[in-house]
Amino acid sequence: MSSLLLVALLAAPPPADEILRRAQGAVLGETAVYTLRMTVSRPGKSERVVEMKGWKKGDDLGLVRYTSPPKERGTAYLRNGGSTWLYLPSAEKVVRVGAKQNFGGGDFSNGDVFRLSLSKDYVATLAGEETVDAQACWKLELKARDRSVAYDRVVYWVRTDGTFFPVRADYYTLSGRRLKWLTTAEVGKIGGRARPTLLTMESALETGARTLLKFLAIQDDVPLDDRLFTPSALEKGE
């Protein structure tokens, strides 16, 4: 009887909050320094490719600086709590921008890039198990805690094989319309551990519109000073 109970306990999925917490740490650690390439595709138009270096600390602090192409080098986005700033190197000026603004003109919002953690903004419930892209996944329903976040509802699929890799996320508006969806791919060892290295965000509103974020290098658990994530630091330039 006790062994049956033990098997049942072992087979039971972890709580939804725990799945979400593990999934959001599967791509980037609590603190991380990374480089990535962003490719913005629009139907019938040439692609825009930007490379950048990023710093992340916890759920609230994020900084990204463009490193390529040369004409955009030095442009930077900073997220600190609920605020986002843009640094324009040609004007040497820091400009406060809306948090729901799309990041770098692609399909990711600033919130998607800087707040890869969702647990602070959303209440998670486990909605079952499904197979997505040939992967057994837990399906999480995430409901926004308030209306300050970019999406009212997110459906989130996380692998059940113990890796907790996120596989897919669908983003919905308050009216229930699906805005876009995220898929992860190209699991590879980078920064000393295996993780998805390619994030693709596709627009549900414009067929063929998509943005790829490809991680080129990641260092987890790097000590980062909070002062790096301030508009005062941004004002100093690179």
């Binding site: 692609e47 192409p69 004409k71 609920g82 809306g98 002062r227």
Partner: protein, 402 residues
């Protein structure tokens, strides 16, 4: 300047950037101006041709090695169809060194771009003034020592000692200038997702001012307000016993590659219609005396100098002749970033003058950008824009970046 040029040349040939980064920009700028005889250019005392052309070759260099950053930007300018010598101008030439995340020092000619306002920054009296006809031009810096100190994650302090000219040099105007020396401190705080900054500055040939800067985001819109108060006017007459204030308040909305902004500017020391009439009468008097054969030549010469000084007033860093302005700007880029169109308009609410600046940017590769901008001025003859000796402009700028 020569030393800076040789330093840059030496660094350019010194080899690869190693572990740091290096950026080199080479460009050409051509400014074609249509000029006219207006209240500020009676009898064409500025000596402008009907069509003026300025040709510039620009050079930019930036190198980062660890905590050290070296920046140089400058241009060689030739006023075409004149015998005026080719002129070299250094926009920026500075070295910056960072001591960890909390402290950095920058020395040399540099921009000090503080203040949340887009078109007007009443809290910044450190740099040479923007060309009021085209504030989007790359600005010249001030010779300065700047220290950025970030004691905590919610506060930053900037200390600056600077020396700069008080007349805009980005226009073919032969305006007399003078040097101002400034000491300034700006304390920036981040409190509950709100930007707050307090500014205090003062020095020689300028007013001592206290400023406040506030910024906050409301959903997709960011809002800002930048205000100052000071005793005595920057525009003549000095009005030393009066206290003035300036306020810029604006909104910015961005989505994808589109941005829209609007900004209102209140210039407390700006001229009322009566004060403008007095200024115009003074201009007229100085001009008439300068050409009056009944007066001795030395007096004519002095009056000529007085006229030139008065004519330079709109370009002497006063931020505007009148009291109320409204600016709106729109830009939209293609998803690939190849094309960007922009339109900026300033409406001088006090006199009905309007300055429109449509522009187009073409950037076929990540290394090349080409801009074509026009400046179009409208308004009554005695309006601020109607008085400008530069009636319209077409600006072409090409930049190659590595």
């Amino acid at each position: 300047v020569r030393a800076a040029a040789w330093t840059v040349a030496g660094l350019l040939v010194a080899g690869p950037a190693g572990a740091g980064s290096r950026e080199i920009q080479v460009g050409f700028e051509e400014f074609h101006y249509a000029t006219g005889e207006t209240a500020l250019n009676r009898g064409n005392v500025l000596g402008l041709d009907d069509k003026e052309d300025l040709l510039r070759a620009t050079l930019g260099y930036k190198e980062s090695q660890g905590s050290l950053r070296l920046v140089f930007r400058g241009f060689v300018e030739k006023r075409l169809d004149t015998d005026v010598d080719t002129d070299w101008t250094t926009r920026e030439a500075y070295a910056q060194y960072g001591f960890g995340d909390g402290l950095s020092v920058r020395i040399g000619k540099q921009r000090v771009s503080w203040g949340s306002g887009f078109a007007w920054n009443p809290t910044s009296r450190l740099e040479p003034p923007k060309n009021p006809l085209n504030p989007s031009l790359e600005q010249q810096g001030a010779l300065a020592v700047r220290t950025d100190w970030i004691p905590t994650a919610w506060a930053g302090v900037i200390l600056v000692a600077a020396e700069s000219e008080v007349v805009s040099r980005d226009a073919p105007l032969d305006a007399p200038s003078r040097t101002r020396r400034t000491g300034a401190v700006r304390a920036r705080l981040l409190v509950r997702d709100t930007d707050l900054a307090v500014v205090f500055s003062g020095g020689r040939n300028q007013r001592t001012l206290l400023g406040l800067d506030v910024g906050r985001t409301f959903g997709p819109v960011s809002a800002h307000a930048e205000a100052t108060t000071y005793r005595g006017a920057e525009l003549p007459p000095a009005r030393d016993d009066q206290r003035f204030s300036r306020l810029v308040a604006g909104l910015l909305w961005t989505r994808d590659q589109t941005s829209v902004s609007a900004e209102y500017f209140y210039n407390g020391e700006g001229y009322s219609q009566d004060e403008l009439d007095l200024y115009l009468a003074d201009l007229d008097s100085a001009y008439r005396h300068s050409i009056d054969p009944a007066l001795p030549p030395p007096i004519q010469s002095l009056e000529g100098q007085r006229y030139r000084a008065l004519a330079a007033v709109p370009y002497s860093g006063g931020l505007g002749l009148r009291q109320h302005y409204l600016q709106a700007a729109w830009s939209r880029g293609t998803s690939s970033g190849t094309w960007t169109a922009a339109l900026r308009g300033v409406l001088a609410l006090s006199d009905g003058g309007t300055a429109l600046t449509p522009g187009l940017t073409w950037s076929p590769t990540g290394h090349l950008t080409a801009n074509l901008d026009a400046i179009l001025l409208f308004g009554p003859d005695d309006s601020e824009y109607g008085m400008s000796p530069l009636r319209s402009a077409l600006q072409t700028r090409v930049k190659v970046i590595w």
